[in-house]
């Protein structure tokens, strides 16, 4: 199956990626080739096959719920592009 530029724009929106028109065209062409290749999965009979999400037979891993030290706020916020006090700065979400 091939992807149209409209589909690429929609997926880019879902993925929160800004693409210009030339990038949309190139992405549509390249992704279409990959998706056509991936479509060969349709030839495999998978009736009744349990999907394998994870290679290990681990299901749930519990640990003791004990308080432990966490990273200092300054260390964590040191990489923030816009630190405001002890918070991350973002543009207003609500008007």
């Amino acid at each position: 199956m091939s992807l149209t530029p409209e589909q690429v724009r929609w997926v880019a929106h879902l993925a929160r990626l800004e693409l210009d028109d030339a990038e949309v065209q190139e992405m549509a062409r390249q992704l279409s080739r990959v998706v056509e290749y991936v479509d060969q999965l349709g030839r495999v009979n998978t009736d009744g096959v349990e999907p394998l999400a994870h290679p290990l037979p681990v299901h749930n891993v519990f640990r003791a719920d004990e308080p432990a030290p966490c990273l200092p706020v300054d260390a964590v916020l040191a990489n923030a592009p816009d630190r405001q006090g002890d918070f991350y700065g973002v543009p207003a979400v609500l008007d």
Partner: protein, 484 residues
Amino acid sequence: MTDLSAAELLALLSRGETTAEAVTAAYLDAIRRREPLVRAFLSVDEAGALEQARSLDARRKKGEPLGPLAGVPVAVKDNLCTQGQRTTCASRILANFVPPYDAHVVTRLRQADAVLIGKTNLDEFAMGSSTENSAFQVTRNPWDRERIPGGSSGGSAAAVAAGLVPLALGSDTGGSVRQPAGLCGVVGLKPTYGRVSRWGLIAFGSSLDQVGTLSRDVADAALLLEVIAGHDPRDSTSVDQPVPAYRQTLEQPVAPLTVGVAREHFGEGLDPEVERAVREAIRVLQGLGATVREVSLPHSPFAVAAYYVVATAEASSNLARYDGVHYGRRAKDYDGLIDLYQKSRGEGFGKEVQRRVMLGTYALSSGYKDAYYLKAMQVRRLIKDDFDRAFAGCDVIAGPTSPTAAFRVGERSADPLAMYLSDVYTIGCNLAGLCGVSVPCGFTKAGLPVGLQLLAPPFAEDKLLRVARMHERATDWHRRRPAL
């Protein structure tokens, strides 16, 4: 000194015939001379490495107990967090990221008294097979600088091959340790999923990612695996199983040994020179008493397709965290929060990362999830079942690591699918959660290394390494060095 293995360096150090400072200085000198030709490193911590080496020498003088890598320089792929040292993932979006903590494997290296010498180049976010997707530089194959070193751990593989460091860590999601090891003529080990903690390894495909080792020989791979393997409560998928003393059993040949050979690993697209070298390696094992039998992996032709759905789906979710808010690069001009996300990610991610985030988002999107993601997970089960059946009749599966030797810089950049197909033989191991290793097994007429891939069932690293060592002892491919 820069021709020695880590084990040989450790012997010299423990006999007092050299010092950690002298070893580190020798490698730093090699980096000064040869790194401009190879460009394997994104950062070299010259002062820190020398200081660490001197303090080790002082501790040795006082008779203090030292760790198993005391005084050995080690390079670390730049997708493993190093506290206080830039960790970029070779991405513009993390160009200035300084982690507030060490990856588990980095902590283990420090506890083992390794000398951390620098961070190596990679395909951005470990997505690629040539290291050309780095946002910062193209690493060259030390055997032919017109060619790529493989990827995504191309910096680590090239650094070991060029004698810039005796040991390096990489990560392997679909072959990213084994493929560059094969193309650079060094040993690359991908441990079983769960054998090594992924804590602090910047996530790409979380059900596939595993930290691996690059070294000149199999004994050094065993040594480094002993240091990094084992349970870590911070990674709930790291398995709580004792770590065998791999080095102790390494010289014991596996007997009887049955080597499985899959017809599917010798199919269309395999370079005849690569095939000849790999067939010869299998004959070497046969000459050592191994029984060779054909095994069948009927779903392996679908491995690349299944992988590029599963890995990209996981990547699209993992990379959602790069939002220009919490850390990493933020775009300068934006109009509102969504625009901030879109511009920061559009500017910050390179083309291959964008393609994979798009593919994964598409495969998970409403209306396509069943046809792609669910289907790929079902095919993944069939691929794992194939391996389970095959390993019921053999100890290891032997075949080529890659279908061709190193290709030219730029040769596959315009064709993502051609690039993806260079992982055709390595991907199954990750989908099924096996362990695997690539060892040098010959050269093409043009002088490019060829890798032999050996695969073994989960947690059979001891046997895997013993078989690799049997081959290594009978050959001398691992002793060849590129002329730089």
